[in-house]
Structure formats: structure tokens, C-alpha cells
């Protein structure tokens, strides 16, 4: 187990105080979604069902509309046609912050976070979103406002401890390395208690070795948050290793969907995102299923060494 989640089991204890209102994993249904920028249809009629509790990977070449699809689901762009259903509820009238409050949480490709906020404040912010205290009570420091702030700090302290972020607590995020920022981002996700999690290239900007360490990390995240995950990723082997379902997109359309083995065996799908090069498929993680070793068991190099390969690395290097 990686050092990000230092010990297995209950190390990442989801704070009891904030678990009460959370439902289980949510299912996501996308029906005939079209997103157009001017004359260009970035997403051209995508229909997709993501079962509750599943991990679904979304792959495809640059410009195939993956991120736009995530944007439409999280409400950052409004679709020209089609529906997004969150646990059978149409999200059309929900603005992004309302979707977040339903438990629809997303991470961003650039993982910029908030450059001038400290790590602690960034995490407290996630708590702010779900536990509103009005300004007047805060200003007058009424008892419930003080209690709420204390509870938030407790929850954040726990997450900071379990993600090993203690020494970065007072750093502003702008001063962190990309890897550390990703960890902060994951920590905020745990705090946000997603029911549906949209991850946009969580390994972008991370070295290959560290990306490999992300597979158990993401599994753990899935387990701890008890959520559905839709992940957009360029690291195809990571997706094949991690996801129960893989969806391939090309020029705004879904060209293949199914279990990793089905997609791997579909030459059309391969051509859509890789030009069917075996080397690219084998960038990280285990050899393809056709090889002698069965897929899930990682090779020695691929299994993460706890202290070296984990993302929190010293900044300013």
C-alpha cells in the first residue's frame, strides 16, 4: 500500500461526523448528449450508462470530446441536446455548485487548485461547501459557528494526517509540486464525499513511476469514498487495469464500450485512440491479457515502493 494511504484498512478513516448524510454510490445516465461550440460538435450524441459503484474509464485521442463530456456532466458547459441523469434525476436545471452538493464531484486536468490558499484552507473549503454557516453567525462568533468551524478543522486534520500532508499544511498550493497538488486534490475528494466522482486525467504531469502508484491509490479512493467513478485518462494501461468498463471516444462519439478485454480485442477501438500500437498499450502496468502472466498481478517494477514513488515530493526542486 502506498504511503499516501499509509496503512491499509482504516488509515483513511472517513470522519464520522460528516458521513451521516451521504448516500451510496450514484448511477449516471447520459442520453443523446450533444455539446456544440459554434459549428463544431465536441460531443455528438453520446449515450452512456454508468452503473452505481462502477469504475468506468473514458479514453480517446486528443480532441475526441472526453473532457467536454465531463464538463457537460459537471455543468460547466450546457449541452445543446440530450440529458444527464444523476440517480435518475435530470440535472438540466442544476448549476455546478448545486451538482456538487448532490455529491457530483470532479477533479481538473490542470489541478491548479487555488494558488494562494494554503493546503489547510484548500481542504477546509471542501467542508465549507457542505456545511454552510451564515456570515452573521460567523462574524458574531455564535456558538454553532464556532462548533462548525471546530468540526471542520477536525475533519481536515484527520485527512491531512492520513494523506501525509502535515508538513505542507501552511504552504500555499502555488508552491507545491504537481504531484503534491494531486494528492491535495485527492484529499479534497475524500472530504467532499462524492457519490459520483469525475476524474480528468489524474496522472497528467506525473512521472511514469508515480503514475503506476496511482492504480492502488485510485482503487483505495473508490473504496473509501464508496462512489461511482468516471475517469478520463491518457494512460491506457492504467485504465485497462483499473476499470470495470472502458469507453472509447472518437470525434465526439462513442466508438466502443465494454470490459477491458472486449475493448482490447476490438481493433477498431484500438485504432481510434492508439493507432493500434502495442507499445503504447504497454506503457505502464502489466502486460496485456494475451501474455503469459494474468493481467491483475503487477510486475515488480509496477508495484509501488512506498516511499519513493508516492506523489508528495519536496517542492521547489
Amino acid at each position: 500500500m502506498s504511503a499516501v494511504f499509509p496503512e491499509s484498512g482504516a488509515a483513511v478513516a472517513v470522519p464520522a461526523a460528516v458521513t451521516t448524510e451521504k448516500g451510496g454510490p450514484a448511477r449516471l445516465d447520459i442520453e443523446g448528449l450533444v455539446v456544440a461550440f459554434g459549428g463544431l460538435q465536441a460531443v455528438a450524441g453520446v449515450s452512456l450508462a454508468v452503473e452505481a459503484g462502477a469504475i468506468v474509464g473514458l479514453i480517446g485521442a486528443n480532441g475526441s470530446g472526453k473532457t467536454t463530456l465531463l464538463d457537460a456532466v459537471s455543468g460547466l458547459v450546457s449541452p445543446a441536446a440530450g440529458k444527464v441523469l444523476f440517480d435518475h434525476e435530470d440535472l438540466a436545471d442544476y448549476i455546478p455548485e448545486e451538482r456538487a452538493r448532490l455529491g457530483l464531484v470532479r477533479s481538473f486536468q490542470d489541478c491548479r487548485l487555488y494558488p494562494e490558499l494554503s493546503v489547510e484552507d484548500t481542504l477546509l473549503l471542501c467542508e465549507d461547501a457542505r456545511h454552510r454557516v451564515d456570515v452573521l453567525s460567523t462574524t458574531l462568533q455564535l456558538p454553532w459557528a464556532r462548533r462548525a468551524e471546530r468540526d471542520k478543522r477536525k475533519a481536515v486534520d484527520r485527512v491531512i494526517g492520513s494523506f501525509g500532508l502535515e508538513r505542507f499544511r501552511y504552504h500555499s498550493t502555488a508552491h507545491l509540486s504537481t504531484g503534491t497538488r494531486r494528492v491535495v486534490d485527492l484529499a479534497s475528494i475524500v472530504l467532499a464525499e462524492p457519490r459520483l466522482l469525475l476524474l480528468d486525467e489524474p496522472t497528467a504531469g506525473i512521472a511514469q513511476r508515480e503514475a503506476e502508484a496511482f492504480i492502488p491509490l485510485l482503487r483505495r479512493l473508490h473504496e473509501v469514498t464508496d462512489s461511482t467513478i468516471l475517469i478520463v485518462e491518457h494512460d491506457v494501461p492504467l485504465v485497462f487495469e483499473l476499470c470495470s468498463t472502458v469507453v472509447v471516444m472518437q470525434t465526439g462519439e462513442v466508438v466502443a464500450a465494454g470490459s477491458p478485454d472486449e475493448v482490447r480485442g476490438d481493433p477498431g477501438a484500438l485504432a481510434a485512440y492508439l493507432g493500434a500500437s502495442d507499445e503504447a498499450i504497454n506503457v505502464s502496468g502489466p502486460a496485456p491479457a494475451s501474455g503469459a502472466s494474468p493481467a491483475p498481478s503487477p510486475s515488480p517494477e509496477a508495484s509501488p515502493a512506498p516511499s519513493q514513488s508516492t506523489p508528495p515530493s519536496a517542492p521547489g526542486g
Binding site: S74, S172, A192
Partner: protein, 665 residues
């Protein structure tokens, strides 16, 4: 009565000046991405110098003209060399720097080798042609403007269209980074643009001066610059011809409006109102095109590069800090016993300015919404005091005025949902001007459809007397008493702002400022958070306005002059933008220094634009940065006295200037 053509022509002649200024603004904006608040002042130096050469030294007009235009061009180029150091800093900071620059240039006009012996004399005009339209006589100055302005603009347009410099400027306007990578000498091009803008500004001032009645040095005043900005905005800050024509249009529209208004007393107020509406309209309509495309500069976050909040976990450092705060508080509280009445009054002023500066720390420092119109909000508070100040107990009046101002502030903030950065600055400056010249200056106006009189302005715009109320039965009439009251208000404000900072309000404001999309996706209500910043800031400015009105006891429209807004911005920048002690230090520096040490040239020099420029260039963290370093020094000293070796690892990296690579080698 039909519209005489002479009115249109008169408006057009005025408009030519606005157009020329607007062209200068666009030129700078295209290359440097900054609204140049020194655009008018660049030329004023030249115009004043021309008068000096012509009258005092007896130069030939044309020789004097060439020399002074060359001077303005040189000053323009020099300004660019100074501002160049800020190439990578937030554009808003550069804008504040141009405000400092314009103050420095104003100092220039005071120097004896530039300032003519007599300031009020007819501005020289090389021709004596006049002509009539109807009964209206157009002066030689008007004729000169009609002849020269179009030629200058055409020449400039040709230069930009056909020369290689012009091509480089157009490329930079689209994307400075790409232009740089493809081998365009970005900095030199920008120097050329500033040189041109300087010369252009000189021509504008020379053309505008003959018809002015005010002192020479005020020929291109802030409201004139605002008119030019309006024209430039109509041109989308990009198009030179549209900006020029829009300038003429603005001139004509204003002149026709002025002619149409039959009631002379409400005349200027109505024109200001229409101007304000036009400005907001131009900003909102243009908002989409102003903020699209590759121009990330004006959309990007505040990103001051200073550590977010200086937080320390060292007990010793905390003790040093609170000892310092306690000692200075005690010192200030005892001050009225030892100083005279005048200085007690000054103490009240500094405290009130401290509150106003804090209100800007919340809005601009944390929320990143640049307000150049904070005194507009202060004016709302003062206006409320003048109406209901005697009817309510002070302890009720302060929050009531605060809440009312917060409502006004949120209304102004609604524009901020569509525009931000430089454009919000322009919009709020427009609001402050509108408050002063339109709302406050009009005691009563009638609403056309309701047939009702609404009396919202100052009862007497020139001089409204207020009597200070008492607080819990204690009279505030003596200056020491009021000084203690003001100090109390300041202390309460600081406590309040500290709560906002440490208990969750500030982090929401900063998150929305730094990354609106991520904050929204994390469930922070973006719109409400932005408006919250306006409400909090307006609240503080509102009750500060009440205090200011009672402190001065006699208020007029000049009490709430929009230029004070710029003073407050300077305070916050000098103090350190997101810092609470910084705001107070800034107020002390700008209000206190001149009053305590008198208006000696040294002090004036330090507190003027020179000081502002120096701070922006060399001390981005402001006075707060100095204060924190001093605190660290004291704390380290005490630690050594206690023979405990200071543990380097305990210093929070980035917070107290401990470089990160020293902490994590």
C-alpha cells in the same frame, strides 16, 4: 426649438480631444494590456512646458511645440522603461502603477524649470482664424483642433497599418507571448508605443488647453479621462478608428444633452447620470468581447505572489506579535492626552481611513475585485448620516448605514459578475464620480412618472453642517473623545476582519478569486461569494462614511471626492494588498506622515506617486512585509537571548521569507 448646428460642431470639437485621448489609451492597452491612467498627465507636462517656453523664454511657437512634444514622447518612453519591470505582474498592479506615474508627472509640473511663472494665462495658439456658425463664434483654438486632430490620427493609423512597428504592435495585441516567441522585440515595441502615446497626449493637451478656463495643470482631469475611457471601451480597447469616432460621438452627445436640459441647476447632474449609464452600458455590452480569446491577462487571478496568509505556529513569534499589537494600541489610546486638538482630529481621520482601507482589503485584496470607487460607498454612508444622523442613536446608526451601503454595494457589484479586473476598476470609478457629481450634488429631484420629489442628495451640497451625536450619553464633541471613538470603531473593525480572515470567509473569497471554476465545482456558490465581498466591503465603507461625516462636522461634495478612492487604493497597495496590518500601516503612512511631519518636500515626495511606484516595484508585499520581517527579527533575537538555538525547520517556509529550498534541501 430646433438644434442649432453650432452645438453639434462644438460637441464634435470637444469630442476630438476625447477621441485623441481614447486613441492613446487604446494604443497603450494594445501593447501593454493596461489602462493607462497617466495618459492625460503625460501631455499636461508638455503643455505646461510649452507655455513656459513661449511666455517665459520667448521661444517661437513652433519650436516650443516641437520641444514639448519631444519631451512628452521622451517621458512616455521613460515611463515604459520603469513599468517594464512589471511585465509579469498582475495587470491590475500595473494599472495602479500608472496612477502612481500620473502623480509623479503631476509633481513634474510643479518643478520651477517646467512650471511657468503665471499659471492663468491664455494658452498660445499659432493661428488667429475664426469662423461663425449661426451666431456662435468658433475660436482659433477650435479651428486648430479641427485641422490637427484628424491629421494626427490618420498619420498614426497609417503608421500602425503600414510600418513594421505597427505590425508588431498588432501582433502583440493578439498574443504577446506568441509574438515574443516568433521574434518580435516585445519590449522595444512597447517602448515605441509609449513614445507615440506620449507625443499623442502632448498634442491632445496642446489642442485642449486653449478652450479651458481652469488652471493649466488640470487641463486633462480625471473625468475627462473617464470620457476618453468610455470611447476606448466602445472601441473594445482594440480599435483605434472606432475609439476615435466614439470620442467624437461622446462629445456630441454630451453637448447636445447639456443644451437640451432646461433646468440649469440639475443640468450637470443629469449629464453625469447619462454618462454613468452609458459607461456601464459600454462595459456590459463589450464585456463578452473584452474577455474572450487569448487575453488571459485580464481574466487571470490576482496572484500577488505574496504568501497567502502569514501564519506562524511558533509560540514565541506569536507572543512578539501580540506584544507589539498591544503596545501600539496602548500608545495610540494614550495619545489624545499628550497631543493637541489638531492631532486628535488627525488621529480620528487616520483611524477612519484605516477602516476604509480595510474595506478595500476585503474587496480587492481577498476577493480580487478592483474598486477604484471605494469613496462612492463612503459617500453613501456620509449621505445617510446627513439625513438621519440626528434621529438615530449612533450605535444604531452605524450598522444601519453599513447595511444600507452594503445594499448599494451589492447593486454595484452586480456588474462585477460580468466584468472584472481593469474594467471593474473603470466601472467603480464611474460610480464614485456619479455619486459625487450627481447624487450628492442634487439635493432633491422629481421622478417624472410618479410626480414625487425624492431628496437623496446632501441637503446643502456646498456645506452641510452635522452635529456630533453622543455615544451612551457621552459627548463626542471634544476632539480627544472623538479620537477614542474612532479608535474604538477601528478596533472593532479589525477584530471583525480578523474573524472573517481566520474563520472561513476569506478562504471562500480567495478560492473564488483564484479559481472560479474549481470553486464552483467544489460546491462554493460563486455568485453569492462575489456579492458577499461587495456586501462586506460596502458595510464597512458605509459606517466609515458616517464616522467621516461626523469627524469633519461640515461635509460637502468635496468631502467624498473620487480622488480619495485612489488614495485608498494607494494605501492598500503600499501596506500590502491582502494584509490587515498592511491596510492600517498604509493609512498611517499616507495620512499620518504628511500631517505629522508637515508638508515638507521630502514627505510629499515619499507619500506621492513616487512612494507608490517604489513600493510596487521593490516591495510587492508592502509595509506589512517589512513589519513581519521586523517581527521575525525581534523574535529571533529574543530566542537567542533565551539561549535557545532557533530551529530553522520550525520556520514556516514561504511565510517568513524562509526559502523553500533551504527547508527541504
Amino acid at each position: 426649438m430646433s438644434l442649432p448646428p453650432s452645438i453639434i460642431l462644438e460637441g464634435a470639437i470637444l469630442g476630438l480631444d476625447y477621441g485623441l485621448l481614447a486613441v492613446g489609451l487604446v494604443l497603450i492597452y494594445r501593447t501593454s494590456r493596461v489602462v493607462n491612467f497617466a495618459q492625460g498627465q503625460l501631455g499636461v507636462v508638455a503643455a505646461v512646458f510649452l507655455v513656459k517656453l513661449f511666455y517665459d523664454f520667448g521661444f517661437n511657437y513652433w519650436v516650443a511645440l516641437v520641444i514639448s512634444v519631444a519631451l512628452a514622447a521622451a517621458v512616455g518612453a521613460l515611463s515604459e522603461l520603469v513599468l517594464r519591470r512589471l511585465f509579469n505582474r498582475p495587470r491590475v498592479m500595473v494599472m495602479v502603477a500608472t496612477i502612481g506615474l500620473s502623480q509623479v508627472l503631476f509633481l513634474f509640473t510643479v518643478f520651477p524649470f517646467i512650471r511657468p511663472k503665471k499659471l492663468f494665462q491664455a494658452f498660445p495658439v499659432p493661428i488667429d482664424w475664426t469662423f461663425h456658425v449661426g451666431t456662435f463664434l468658433f475660436s482659433p483654438g477650435d479651428v486648430l483642433t479641427l485641422m490637427v486632430a484628424p491629421v494626427v490620427v490618420l498619420a498614426l493609423a497609417a503608421f500602425i497599418r503600414f510600418s513594421s512597428w505597427g505590425l508588431a504592435m498588432r501582433a502583440m495585441a493578439e498574443n504577446a507571448e506568441s509574438a515574443r516567441l516568433s521574434g518580435i522585440w516585445v519590449r522595444r515595441t512597447s517602448t515605441v508605443a509609449w513614445t507615440l502615446a506620449g507625443a499623442l497626449s502632448a498634442v491632445t493637451a496642446v489642442l485642449a488647453s486653449p478652450s479651458q478656463t481652469s488652471a493649466l495643470t488640470e487641463v486633462l482631469s480625471p473625468d475627462l479621462l473617464l470620457l476618453a475611457l468610455l470611447a476606448a471601451l466602445i472601441g473594445g480597447m482594440v480599435s483605434l478608428p472606432v475609439a476615435f469616432l466614439a470620442g467624437i460621438g461622446v462629445g456630441v452627445v454630451l453637448d447636445v444633452l447639456q443644451w437640451n436640459i432646461t433646468n440649469p441647476s440639475s443640468g450637470p447632474a443629469t449629464v453625469e447620470l447619462i454618462l454613468f449609464v452609458l459607461l456601464q452600458g459600454a462595459l456590459l455590452v463589450r464585456a463578452a468581447s473584452l474577455q474572450k480569446g487569448a487575453r488571459v491577462g485580464e481574466r487571470s487571478s490576482w496572484a500577488m505572489g505574496t504568501a497567502a496568509f502569514r501564519r506562524t505556529t511558533k509560540a514565541l513569534r506569536k507572543t512578539v506579535g501580540s506584544t507589539g499589537v498591544g503596545a501600539s494600541l496602548l500608545l495610540v489610546a494614550l495619545l489624545p492626552f499628550f497631543v493637541g486638538v489638531g492631532h486628535s482630529f488627525l488621529m480620528s481621520q487616520i483611524c477612519i481611513y484605516g477602516v476604509i482601507a480595510l474595506s478595500l482589503t476585503v474587496l480587492t485584496g481577498w476577493s480580487g475585485q478592483v474598486s477604484l470607487g471605494q469613496f462612492g460607498f463612503v459617500a453613501v454612508g456620509g449621505d445617510i448620516a446627513s439625513h438621519i444622523g440626528s434621529g438615530l442613536p449612533l450605535i444604531v446608526l452605524l450598522p444601519v448605514a453599513g447595511l444600507a451601503t452594503a445594499v448599494v454595494s451589492v447593486l454595484v457589484g452586480l456588474t462585477a459578475l460580468r466584468i472584472r479586473g481593469l474594467y471593474l476598476a473603470v466601472s467603480t470609478l464611474g460610480f464614485a464620480l456619479f455619486m459625487q457629481t450627481s447624487v450628492l450634488a442634487t439635493p432633491c429631484f422629481s421622478v417624472p412618472l410618479l410626480h414625487k420629489q425624492i431628496c437623496s442628495g446632501l441637503p446643502n451640497p456646498q456645506s452641510t453642517l452635522l452635529s456630533r451625536p453622543s455615544l451612551f450619553g457621552l459627548s463626542l464633541n471634544s476632539e480627544p473623545a472623538f479620537a477614542w471613538f474612532s479608535l474604538g470603531v477601528l478596533v472593532v473593525s479589525v477584530v471583525m476582519v480578523r474573524i472573517w480572515r481566520d474563520r472561513g470567509i476569506a478562504r471562500r473569497l480567495i478560492a473564488v478569486r483564484d479559481n472560479e471554476i474549481a470553486a464552483g465545482s467544489a460546491g462554493i456558490p460563486v455568485v453569492r461569494t462575489k456579492l458577499l465581498a461587495f456586501a462586506l466591503s460596502g458595510f464597512m465603507a458605509g459606517y466609515a462614511g458616517v464616522c467621516l461625516a461626523f469627524a469633519t462636522e461640515r461635509i460637502s461634495t468635496n468631502t467624498f471626492d473620487p480622488t480619495f478612492s485612489i488614495l485608498v487604493v494607494s494605501m492598500v497597495v503600499i501596506g500590502g494588498l491582502d494584509s490587515i496590518p498592511g491596510a492600517l500601516l498604509g493609512a498611517l503612512y499616507l495620512e499620518g506622515l504628511p500631517a505629522i511631519f508637515g508638508s515638507t518636500p521630502t514627505v510629499e515626495f515619499l507619500t506621492s506617486g513616487v512612494g507608490l511606484l517604489a513600493f510596487i516595484l521593490y516591495l510587492p508585499g508592502g509595509l506589512a512585509q517589512l513589519l513581519h520581517s521586523f517581527g521575525d527579527l525581534v523574535s529571533d533575537g529574543v530566542a537567542q537571548l533565551q539561549t535557545r538555538r532557533p530551529d530553522a525547520l520550525d520556520g514556516r517556509p514561504g511565510a517568513h521569507g524562509v526559502p523553500l529550498d533551504k527547508v527541504f534541501p
